[in-house]
């Protein structure tokens, strides 16, 4: 499903100083996998996730999604892929504060002409039920706890029935119990839908949730384990 060929990402601080966030990394992720990417802060795991998602252009190398070179596509085609095939869960609060939980979940439909308001709202309600928040449909993000907000983000990520779910440290701001609840939810989604999940975390304890895990260090994959 996803193939990275000798991908590097370099951030230039000035003309002489550069940070090699990801270095000559090759990786293949098959459909239906639950990949956990671990590593310390600054190891390049979030950059690797962004490269996989096409959220940042590689300095060198190629990223293929379903055999298609992501960076040979136009901005419109890339945006369409992000909308139809990918679902994102970020570490930071990414709900729009002026929208209710339900409106936030339905938000990706404004970029998807396949959905009409008639189909988007029932789907959003259904997903809110799936994440156990059917009583919070009209709540604003500020009225929800951090765990509840992250559940809403998960529901939003699933709205367009993506093929790939990308989660960047989704539990880093949560307490241990909520972290377990969210990770159990990811596992359930993976089992029920068979969706491919790539989850980045600094916690090695979460590796047990995945079907495969890789560990990153200094911008490179230094170990890979199949569970």
């Amino acid at each position: 499903m996803i193939q990275l060929e000798k991908v590097s990402k370099t951030y230039w601080m000035n003309k002489e100083n550069a940070i090699h966030a990801v270095l000559e990394t090759s990786l293949e992720i098959k459909k239906g996998e639950f990949l956990i990417i671990t590593g310390r802060s600054g190891s390049g795991k979030t950059t690797l996730l962004n490269l996989i998602a096409g959220l940042t252009r590689p300095s060198s190398g190629q990223v293929f999604l379903d055999g298609q070179d992501l960076w040979s596509l136009s901005d419109q085609q890339q945006s369409l892929i992000r909308n139809r095939k990918l679902g994102f869960i970020f570490q930071f609060p990414s709900l729009l504060p002026s929208l209710t939980a339900l409106e936030n979940v339905a938000l990706p439909t404004i970029f998807n002409t396949d959905h009409t308001k008639g189909t988007a709202t029932p789907r959003a309600v259904e997903l809110m039920e799936t994440v156990g928040l059917n009583d919070k449909l009209n709540a604003y993000p500020r009225q929800l706890s951090a765990g509840q907000q992250q559940r809403v983000v998960v529901a939003r990520a699933l709205l367009n029935q993506p093929e790939l779910l990308l989660a960047d440290e989704p539990t880093s701001d949560l307490d241990e119990q909520t972290e377990t609840e969210i990770m159990d939810m990811f596992q359930q989604i993976h089992i029920i839908t068979g969706i491919t999940i790539i989850l980045v975390t600094h916690s090695t304890q979460l590796v047990r949730y995945g079907s495969q895990s890789i560990h990153m260090s200094r911008g490179m994959i230094d170990s890979s384990v199949h569970n």
């Binding site: 419109q76 990918l86 970020f90 990706p108």
Partner: protein, 210 residues
Amino acid sequence: MFLTFETAQDIARLSPQLALQPLVIPQDSISSVLVRLEPGTDPMAVSAEILRQLPGVTPITSPNMFQAYRQQMNGLLASILLVLGITLVLSGLLIGLVFSMAANERRREVGVLRAMGATRNFVLRSLLLEASILALEGGLAGISLTILVIFLFRNLIMHSFGFPFLLPNLGLLLIEILVGLVLALACVTLAAMIPAYRISHMEPALAMRE
């Protein structure tokens, strides 16, 4: 005193209430016509032509009659336009700066929208639409405030300057309001263009970074 026909008719219409003696101007009456010549036209030649073509009309050539007045007015107009131009440029720069700061604060939001499938053009259009709505709101607020100030202080202005305060007719006033709104819209949209373009063309991952 030279007035437009509309202004003269307005004065006549208001005179029964405001003047000691009402002013009566019969409809279609013209006592004199001011002929404005293109630069470089010979006034004497025009005068002779009027005399030839319109018997009974006495042309009076007065090339110097308004020269000093016109020079003063042109100087004043040029100064006003210069100040307005500088104000407009400074306003544009300030609006651009403020919009840049406001858009920068919402970089992460833009990054999230891009990740969800928003194209660069969608983000650019949204930011410019927001700027346009704010410009129209600001323009309308400014015009409303101007009308209020004129309404409240017109007597003070009349007494301070020592001449009557006359508004142009409604049609011209509406055109002036429309021009004001278009100018506000153009100024803000142009000022917002650079920051909006910069943020909409930023990589989503970079936009989401702190």
